[in-house]
Symmetry: C2
Subunit: 166 residues, 2 copies
């Protein structure tokens, strides 16, 4: 008799992203301090505020499930953030630093897009429509942030990274 | 005088995804063996073949850059794959196993989508249009695979995961 259910998988996933979001808050603070361009700093600061709201939504999801808000170590986000940290160290003082930080932030966004998309789908399957709605709000924010970062990258950061070394 | 350029960042990124793709090949083999549903096994096998072609394209990108095809340890993919491995172990025999494996595969896809999107953009900025074209071909495949997995998840795997435990 299997003991693990989709409900268990869903709860594990919520714990995973709860851990991830709090790691992301710490990483975004470092990235905002490290970024050279003011508009990239501003983009990181804006997403930092948004992320704090996303953590609040996860606390509400835990409440819906009747479970304590508790994270579960997420090696994926640890690895993704580690790569951003490497960029900060290895490209400090380089004209390509901002392009690297922006790419690191987009890797974070895509991890979140994958996870929130999955969690929303599982919440709907489990009939947890209230949780699905909260997860969908965050998913929409993540998709929007990723698109804003792409626009910033293509319009400015990558171009400057190249021009300064040309 | 900064020594690191966008060209360095681009080469580091190609090495990172080259390492990642080869790790993904090994992980997909395990996931195809572990999956319960035949259509999920088939989806993993199909993507395995596609991934082998993507590695070949990266070898071509290294050739364009005049650099040896060499990977660079990518803690992000190591972490993402580790989470898939945890699902395989913790949900073995569970009706939710396939839903978990599918979610793990989508996290991998999104990592690749983020990286190939970035690398294509950098290749264009650097005037490496031949490399950009190769990277864009892989990006299109990854986006397509992610959409196929979403359809499979919503149509079948999550629903079965739920029904078997109901």
């Amino acid at each position: 008799m299997p003991t693990k259910t989709l409900e268990d998988l869903f709860l594990d996933g919520v714990k995973d992203i709860y851990y991830a979001e709090r790691k992301i808050i710490a990483a975004l603070k470092k990235m905002a301090r490290g970024a050279e361009a003011e508009d990239l700093k501003a983009a990181f600061d804006k997403h930092l505020q948004e992320t704090e709201g996303q953590v609040e939504r996860l606390v509400q999801v835990f409440e819906i499930l009747g479970k304590p808000a508790r994270g579960k170590t997420c090696p994926a986000i640890d690895g993704i953030i580690e790569e951003g940290q490497e960029i900060l160290e290895e490209f400090k003082g380089s004209p390509a630093l901002d392009a690297g930080l922006l790419a690191a932030a987009q890797a974070v966004e895509h991890y979140e897009i994958a996870r929130y998309g999955t969690l929303k789908s599982w919440a709907l399957q489990l009939g947890r429509n209230d949780a699905a709605q909260l997860l969908d709000q965050t998913l929409a924010e993540e998709l929007n942030t990723d698109q804003s970062l792409t626009r910033l990258a293509e319009a400015k950061v990558n171009r400057e990274g190249k021009q300064k070394v040309a």
